[in-house]
């Protein structure tokens, strides 16, 4: 009996070396599907190139965008994880770092430290509530910023010119109200001047509100140490002004009424259908989506602001753009951390990562300023890329606030900022009252994540 079990154990150890060997060279990777096919194609190419160069194998699963979130949440909460993941949505880096679910990747980031922008490096860090320290848990891969997208053809139809756009914040957006008024005089019933995402779905409303908050002087709502500053009168005033302007635009009829039900794709679709003259939306997905089918729109009719173009604040000072960084992540419990790290090191080599964003048609930004100077981004024939990269990489930027305190990620997920906008827009609530309610809710959420 004993001999039998010994034999069995011996047999197992003989067999195991084969299994161990296989694990040493195969890593699993999950990545979300892009919005255009080219993004997936270039990712597969990079993986194939890595496999050839290293001899290791990467099992890449490209997951459709919608179930991707479910899959990630379930994987992390059940500890059945791949070796490499991506921070999509971006805040999962901070959210799960709090619970000590990521492997420290500072050694990977170190290999290209000099290349990364300041914002990218900051955004790759997160606070770990188990170790009570900040550490680098993400490898910056690509970035997104929120420019304004404008139908030049519609502005011209209203007998106005994009070149005449004012350079300060309120005046800039008021311009589009005039465009709508002119178009209405011409009998265009179904066009609206401002495509504000006054909705409680998706990430767009948060991005929109935060852009306004920062422009009105509320940029210290959460400081680098993770502390919340809602009592700061500057922050309060900025929030009230933002709610008043955004909600007011809807209330006064300058925003498509159906905006209240938009999700992240609906506003793009509405823009393509020329339902509004401009919208404030993250990445260049609006343009990239129609590049192939409607090159005339891409090259002639749509303008991206981008820098220059993106308005300054009302005092004339440039507004730093909030950048969202997508990081590569290695979850704790990954079977093959070695290969995962190796692949990520390969991935962030400037040449490789540069190709990744460029062949994705420029929907995403690189995180290395040197890459922004490439002929692709500086192409004088392309009307969108130069302004986009200037705004998101070379100009003044700041990471999004959940990088400092992950409670902000929950504020985003729960659409807390949407409520003041919607209440002012449709229920005639005074901005001060609406903002007070929102502030209360934010304080409740922040109290769940006390940081040392």
């Amino acid at each position: 009996m004993l001999r039998g079990s010994l034999a069995l154990a011996a047999a197992k150890t003989v067999a195991f070396p084969h299994v161990v060997k296989a694990a040493a060279t195969t890593a699993t990777m999950w990545f979300s599907q892009g919005f255009v096919q080219d993004e997936d194609v270039v990712l597969r190419k990079i993986v194939a190139d890595y496999e050839k160069a290293s001899g290791n194998k990467i099992e890449l699963s490209i997951i459709p965008f919608a179930p991707h979130r479910q899959k990630i949440i379930s994987a992390i909460t059940s500890d059945v994880v791949p070796d490499i993941m991506q921070s999509e949505p971006n805040e999962i880096l901070q959210l799960y770092a709090w619970q000590d679910k990521w492997v420290d990747v500072s050694d990977v980031v170190e290999t290209q430290r000099a290349q990364f922008s300041e914002t990218a490096l900051t955004a790759s860090q997160a606070y770990n509530n188990v170790t009570k320290k900040r550490a680098t848990y993400g490898v910056p891969l690509r970035a997104a910023v929120v420019p304004c997208h404008i139908w030049k053809s519609l502005v011209e139809k209203a007998a106005m010119k994009v070149e005449d756009l004012p350079k300060t914040w309120d005046a800039y957006f008021d311009f589009f109200k005039k465009v709508q008024d002119n178009l209405r005089k011409q009998g265009e019933r179904k066009v609206y001047g401002l495509g504000f995402q006054v909705t409680a779905s998706g990430v767009d409303p948060y991005n929109l509100f935060m852009a306004f908050l920062v422009a009105y002087g509320g940029q210290d709502v959460v400081t680098k140490d993770g502390k919340l500053h809602l009592n700061d009168p500057k922050v309060k005033q900025a929030a009230i002004k933002a709610a008043a302007y955004l909600g007011g635009a809807y209330r006064d009829g300058y925003v498509p009424p159906s905006a209240i039900n938009w999700n992240d794709a609906d506003d793009n679709n509405a823009f393509h259908a020329k339902l509004m003259v401009m919208d404030v939306d993250g990445t260049l997905s609006t343009e990239v989506a129609i590049k192939e089918k409607h090159p005339e729109w891409y090259f002639n009719e749509i303008v991206t602001h981008g820098v220059p173009g993106y308005p300054n604040d009302n005092a004339g000072n440039p507004v730093p753009s909030i950048v969202n960084i997508t990081n590569g992540l290695i979850p704790k419990g990954a079977k093959n951390v070695t290969v995962a790290k190796e692949f990520l090191k390969y991935f962030i080599q400037p040449k490789v990562i540069g190709e990744f964003v460029e062949l994705g048609l420029g929907r995403w930004l690189p995180v290395m300023p040197s890459l922004a100077k490439s002929p692709f981004w500086q192409n004088p024939k392309d009307p969108h890329l130069k302004g986009y990269v200037q705004q998101g990489l070379l100009g003044p930027t700041r990471p999004d606030y959940y990088v400092f305190n992950l409670a902000m990620a929950e504020v985003r997920a729960q659409h807390v900022w949407s409520m003041p906008m919607i209440e002012v827009a449709r229920e005639g609530v005074k901005p001060e009252v609406a903002v007070d309610k929102a502030f209360k809710r934010i304080e409740e959420i922040f109290s769940k994540y006390p940081m040392a």
């Binding site: 959210l95 909705t199 409680a200 779905s201 159906s258 209240i260 039900n261």
Partner: protein
């Protein structure tokens, strides 16, 4: 459902061992008993693995005390409960009432009735995802089909149906009624056809036709079936996810959620699965009494004649 044979068996004098044996096995002997058990094993296995275990796991997930105060404090939750109650009250009753009336209508003879019934059942046969998305687009205020029709035929500018909580909720309820009335009509129709011909003939001869015939003859016979359908429909509707999700998406601003969709939203959109389970568990106090009543009804009464 105690069969009479076993009752008789019980009363017969027999040795102790025999009595116990018979208590366990009834009147099945030997291999027959084995087969009977074997036939039930597949369902028992399915039930234990895929129903009992998830239920236990779900109850465990939703059993954290702190979840419920957090859930009740969420303003969305309060709206959701109101929506769910309205959805149930209006949805179930209007749907079944219509089904009752239409089942009478479809009893009429003629090829035209048969053809109409064929068309009428389409909403049930076509998958929900297809039709509800179609309805969602139909109701768009700017370019939806419904408003186009209203404008083209009546020169009326239709409202933004999905922009207001009450019209959106109404749209969801109407979509549900549209989809499921055919199914319940068929069931009630079958119930009516199961009423023996001689009863129907006698009623007609006695002059109890039309409304009187319905009130005095048909409805009493259908009453039990109608009640069971109401209970079943309430339970199904409580768990209905698709109508809200695809027609209104829970919007505007999360004001048309029902408990089923709120559970999913809590679990995945804000990454708190346990809060999601808590949301659906909070409906249990309503569901359990319903199911108990349903169980009693199904056991004591015959569903058909």
């Amino acid at each position: 459902m105690m069969d009479t044979a076993s009752v008789v068996d019980f009363g017969r004098p027999a040795g102790r061992r025999h009595a116990v044996w018979r208590f366990l096995r009834g009147n099945l002997k030997g291999t027959e008993y084995t087969w009977a058990v074997a036939f039930v094993v597949p369902y028992a296995a399915v039930f234990l693995t895929f129903v009992a275990y998830p239920v236990v796991y779900g109850v465990w997930m939703g059993s954290e005390r702190g979840l419920y105060p957090e859930l009740f404090a969420d303003p969305i939750y309060q709206n959701t409960v109101v929506n769910t109650v309205l959805y149930l009250a209006i949805g179930v009753n209007v749907k079944l009432f219509l089904a009752l009336l239409l089942s009478g209508f479809f009893m009429r003879p003629g090829w035209w009735m048969k053809a109409l019934l064929l068309i009428f059942v389409l909403p049930w046969a076509v998958p929900q995802i297809s039709t509800f998305i179609s309805i969602h687009w139909m109701l768009n205020g700017e370019w939806g089909f419904l408003n186009n029709v209203l404008y083209t035929l009546f020169h009326v500018e239709g409202p933004h149906w999905l922009n207001d909580r009450w019209t959106a909720l109404g749209a969801v309820i109407v979509s549900h009624i549209w989809k499921w009335t055919p199914f319940w009509t068929l069931i009630l129709l079958a119930g009516r056809m199961a009423i023996p011909l001689d009863i129907r003939d006698t009623a007609r001869v006695d002059g109890a036709t039309g409304l009187r015939g319905f009130v005095y003859i048909t409805f009493p016979l259908l009453a039990n079936l109608y009640l069971i359908c109401t209970l079943l429909s309430t339970i199904f509707l409580l768990g209905d996810f698709n109508a809200v999700y695809f027609v209104s998406g829970g919007g505007p601003a999360n004001t048309t959620h029902v408990l089923a969709t709120l559970g999913i939203r809590n679990a995945f959109d804000i990454a708190q699965p346990r809060l999601g389970v808590a949301a659906v568990m909070s409906a249990l106090p309503l569901v359990i009494p319903l199911v108990i009543v349903l169980m009693r009804k199904l056991r004591t009464a015959e569903v058909q004649l």
